[in-house]
């Protein structure tokens, strides 16, 4: 079965605000390698084909290893592949992405707070929120993967 494309442009001011949100979250986190891992993991959970294509391409071009990309959906079982800081961020990503199954557990938050200062943690939450927003905008409008050559 072929997914029928939908054609719907985002309102201009809304799109610009989304871009500001992305830029502010990434700048505040200040860790592009971690940012891509977070954005890929959220896009897996939200099944955003466009977003996966984009962020996997960007991560590869930035030199991320195939093993770390391949194992991302099983990061909990992939000891030694990710740092404790990355694991804390990935656990938080999952909790904040899957809100419909219930809240953000204290232990997940506490573990993230042990690896990030408040400023970093606020921006990590912002980045998780931002990629969740892009995921929604792309899935809802069924934007197809394989778009522009990501730089």
């Amino acid at each position: 079965m072929t997914a029928q494309p939908r054609t719907l442009e985002l309102p201009t001011e809304f799109r610009e605000a989304m871009q500001q949100l992305s830029a502010a979250a990434k700048r505040g986190l200040g860790d592009p390698v971690l940012a891509e891992l977070v954005m890929i993991r959220a896009s897996q959970l939200n099944r955003c084909a466009f977003c996966l294509d984009m962020h996997l391409t960007v991560a590869r071009k930035a030199g991320e290893s195939e093993a770390r990309l391949d194992l991302l959906s099983a990061w909990e079982e992939s000891t030694g592949t990710y740092t404790d800081r990355e694991r804390a961020a990935l656990a938080l990503t999952e909790a904040v992405t899957v809100l419909t199954e219930g809240f953000v557990p204290d232990e997940v938050y506490a573990d993230a707070a042990a690896h990030f200062d408040e400023h970093g943690l606020a921006h990590l939450i912002a980045l998780i929120t931002t990629i969740n927003s892009w995921n929604r905008l792309m899935v809802a409008r069924r934007i197809q993967p394989g778009g522009p050559a990501w730089t």
Binding site: V96, E118, R136
Partner: protein, 168 residues
């Protein structure tokens, strides 16, 4: 509302962090997002969408805010109460509202699978393209507020609506 322990209520929790102060540029962008969304969305419908998404995402602070805003705008108590069972109380809502609520659920619960063609088509039949784009923007925006609200555990009970509910 704040309760004394002697009332038998558990004490109020505190927020985990003041995210808007820690990330002011992010907060500013969120306000821009909200403003851009509001410009093209019917206010009454927007509150219904916000309440339903906040129910699905379990955001207590957001429910406090948006139920109060909806009431302040003249929304009926019945329509707010029935919102979490709208599929069984369809005659409380217009076709347009039902299509928007259905789309809200699909876009909010992405982890359980995409946005079905029939849901999208029903929304596209009720909303013109520009309206539909704003509706998708609205659903995305409340989902974003929900994530900040839940992850930083913002405290419900203190929100006071403006006369014409113009807060985020």
């Amino acid at each position: 509302m704040t309760h004394e322990h002697s009332d038998g209520y558990v004490p109020e929790h505190t927020p985990r962090m003041e995210w808007a102060k820690l990330a002011p540029e992010v907060y500013k962008a969120m306000l821009q997002l909200e403003k851009a969304t509001r410009q093209g969305t019917d206010p009454g419908l927007y509150e219904l969408v916000k309440i339903r998404a906040s129910q699905l995402n379990h955001c207590a602070f957001c429910l406090d805010m948006h139920t109060k805003d909806a009431l302040a705008q003249g929304e009926s108590v019945e329509r707010i109460i029935q919102l979490s069972a709208w599929e069984e109380s369809r005659h409380f809502y217009t076709r347009r509202e039902l299509a928007a609520l259905e789309l809200t659920e699909a876009i909010t619960v992405l982890t359980e699978g995409f946005v079905p063609d029939e849901v999208y088509e029903r929304a596209a039949a009720e909303f013109e393209e520009a309206e539909l784009a704003h509706l998708i923007a609205a659903i995305t925006t409340i989902n974003a507020w929900n994530r900040f609200g839940v992850s930083t555990r913002m405290v419900p009970g203190h929100y006071k609506p403006a006369a014409q509910g113009n807060a985020s």
